[in-house]
């Protein structure tokens, strides 16, 4: 599949009174046309800032994209003029945010918010926009779409609002949707409804999807490929099956061992990762995961391990990946 989005060596920093926060510290990844890519990591690992950077939605000041390039269909987003950017946002790349209450305008009707986008980007007449809005709401599973168009966001439940957000994201036939924790605020049965809907629609319409989440289960269920982030860096990438069954970074392994699994009988203790993630306002020497890592060796203290390929699209940023691989093979 052709490459749709190529992020290279992206660095996004925040200049605060407490110091420079290296929220995203040199990440590189690709998203192919029509595929679903999962980006996982814990709070503060830079996964959301990385996503907002793609659309240049980082508040400046205090934030700034310090270096790197983001190529979408070959064009560098970081070099675009404001007008080019406006034509891109919401049209070719759209976003679904975590909190559907704060991302919809509370004083405008659902219909107005949907139609405005389409009139602007697709140059539709108000009548055309209205009929397409009705069609979109039906597509995302909202009953009585005609009536819903006249309603305000507070009339709808959280799940319904997130459906509206998805309709909005799809309204201008984007090539890429970035979903930042799209179901974190929702109950588990509603989460399943929304994720199944997103999967069906993106597959059917051939839209690529970046799904950003801390939930390893969601990624396992929906993503074709996965990137794992820690302290502003991608530390491992690969197919979902590689990441979950043949992890080649101690952090990924640690995460997988930390989550309880309900499909296995009870009785075993979890194996948590000791310690805490580092403070990103301080300069980190060597591998950021070293203080929590049971595989660390002397060189981890001073050298930053590069994200090396181990073949088959599987990458890992760990000096000791061969030892880890050997141990896991032995264990299985």
């Amino acid at each position: 599949m052709p490459v749709l989005l190529q992020v290279e060596n992206l660095r996004t920093q925040f200049y605060t009174s407490a110091g420079t926060v290296r929220a995203v510290d040199g990440i590189s990844y690709t998203v192919n046309e029509g595929e679903t890519v999962g980006i996982v990591g814990e709070s503060g690992c830079g996964k959301s800032v990385g996503a907002l950077s793609i659309l240049r939605l980082i508040p400046d000041p205090p934030g700034k994209i310090a270096s790197g390039s983001i190529r979408f269909q070959g064009r560098d987003i970081l070099a675009m003029s404001d007008e080019e950017l406006r034509n891109l946002r919401g049209a070719q790349i759209s976003m679904v945010f975590q909190e559907p209450m704060t991302s919809l305008n509370p004083v405008l009707t659902i219909g107005l918010q949907l139609c405005e986008t389409m009139e602007l980007h697709l140059k539709l007449t108000p009548e055309q926009a209205r009929s397409r809005a009705t069609e979109l709401l039906g597509m995302v599973g909202i009953s009585e779409p005609e009536r819903r168009l006249q309603q305000y966001p507070h009339h709808l439940s959280g799940g319904m609002r997130q459906r509206v957000m998805i309709a909005l994201a799809l309204s201008c036939n984007p090539k890429l949707i970035i979903a930042d924790e799209p179901t974190t605020a929702l109950d588990v049965t509603i989460q399943a409804q929304i994720l199944e809907l997103m999967k069906d629609l993106t597959k059917r319409l051939g839209v690529a999807l970046i799904i950003i989440t801390h939930n390893l289960g969601v990624v396992a269920r929906y993503a074709d490929r996965v990137y794992v982030m820690y302290a502003g860096k991608i530390i491992e990438g690969g197919s979902a099956s590689d990441i979950y069954h043949r992890p080649l970074h101690p952090y990924t392994l640690g995460l997988l061992r930390s989550v309880p699994r309900m499909d296995r009988p009870r009785g075993n203790r979890l194996i948590p990762i000791d310690g805490q993630p580092p403070d990103l306002t301080r300069e980190i020497e060597g591998c950021a995961y070293r203080p929590r890592c049971s595989f660390a060796v002397a060189r981890c203290e001073h050298e930053v391990p590069p994200l090396d390929s181990v073949g088959g699209g599987h990458t890992s940023a760990c000096f000791e990946k061969a030892r880890l691989q050997g141990l896991l093979k032995e264990a299985s």
């Binding site: 588990v188 049965t189 203790r269 805490q276």
Partner: protein, 343 residues
């Protein structure tokens, strides 16, 4: 045998009698809130049945999980047990005494033995108090260790039991991470040597790697002090891991109760089945083989709940009679209780 007489109403009684007297028994608990129309009009506009006829027991050293989606009444149940909320009806029998009849003084004495750990480690600790004062306050209130030196010694002990360095005593909550703060909340709950702790979404706000640390801490403490937990949570994987038995709530009612492994491998109520199917498992190969059926509809408003079985509008098994009859819990297998006549 008197405890078994009302067996259909007290699921879990059989197990509890095996282990002797249950530590806690909740009988036909009801908590109905009255909604007023607005500040200017008097009189009730609607009644919300937040908890409706819920019964269960918890044995000494046992963890009972209480799961369900937002608004199902799981937190209210926990608050009623602690008497933070005065129940509309029902009995709460803790260590052989009915809390609903106790006077204030006697209730306060019982409260020493029951504590709570809250979800949000940010808002449940007073930002102006040092950690030492936060953990020491319950002891002060209940008049244990009146001597400050002794109290400090006890605080230091509690901190190290919870995996924190005793020097954290002189810190403020804002100087600590979420995981550390949750440990402070746990140390505070332990300060009066409780027998029973309500853990209300106690690990939900934590990141995966920190969550595992706190889960292990809760398990260790349970073993060390023979604690009983009511573990209220929406994360089913965590509940399965941590709980001996699990109760599932839907719109204020208990729909299923069973041993943890039994409930997760053999769910009988259609709601429990849908709930478990919705939880993604962190394994792409397992996920590929699972049916991703999606339950239709959303949870109805508790102000105007459906008649009969509250789950019938979303239920794949529903028949006409489900709209009229409220199903009671039946014991289909030893210790496995289900509120559905169709399974």
């Amino acid at each position: 045998m008197s405890a078994v007489a009302g067996a259909t109403l007290q699921p879990g009684a059989s197990r509890a009698t095996q282990a002797g007297q249950p530590l806690l028994e909740v009988r036909n608990l009801k908590m109905h809130f009255t909604m007023t129309r607005g500040i200017l009009s008097r009189g009730a506009a609607a009644k919300i049945k937040a908890v409706d006829d819920v019964s269960f027991t918890i044995a000494r050293g046992e963890t009972l999980g209480l799961v369900g989606e937002s608004g199902c009444g799981k937190t209210t149940t926990g608050r009623c047990i602690l008497h933070l909320e005065k129940p509309t009806a029902g009995e709460i029998i803790f260590e052989g005494q009915n809390l609903t009849n106790l006077g204030r003084k006697a209730l306060n004495e019982k409260r020493e033995r029951m504590q709570v750990i809250f979800q949000d480690p940010y808002s449940s600790l007073n930002p102006r108090m040092k950690v030492g004062a936060i953990i020491g306050e319950p002891m002060k209130v209940h008049g244990i260790y009146r001597n400050q030196k002794e109290r400090e010694k006890r605080v230091a002990e509690l901190l190290s039991v919870c995996g924190l360095n005793p020097k954290f005593m002189d810190r403020y909550p804002h100087e600590m991470s979420g995981g550390q703060r949750q440990r402070v909340g746990i140390a505070r709950a332990l300060s009066l040597n409780p027998h029973f702790i309500v853990c209300d979404e106690a690990v939900s706000a934590l990141d995966v790697s920190i969550q595992a640390q706190v889960i292990n801490l809760l398990e260790n403490l349970r073993e060390q002090f023979n604690l009983s937990y009511l573990f209220i949570a929406h994360d089913l994987s965590v509940v399965h891991h941590l709980c001996h038995r699990v109760a599932v709530m839907y719109l204020g009612r208990l729909v299923e109760l069973a041993d943890s492994d039994e409930l997760f491998s053999n769910p009988l109520h259609p709601y429990t089945q849908a709930l478990l199917e919705a939880v993604p498992i962190p394994d792409p190969d397992v996920e590929k083989q699972r049916a991703h059926r999606v339950m239709k509809g959303e949870i109805p408003s508790p102000i105007n709940p459906p008649s009969g079985c509250v789950f019938h509008p979303r239920c794949p098994l529903a028949v006409g009679s489900c709209q009229q009859e409220v199903p009671g819990l039946r014991e289909l297998k030893p210790g496995h209780w289900v509120a559905c006549p169709r399974v």
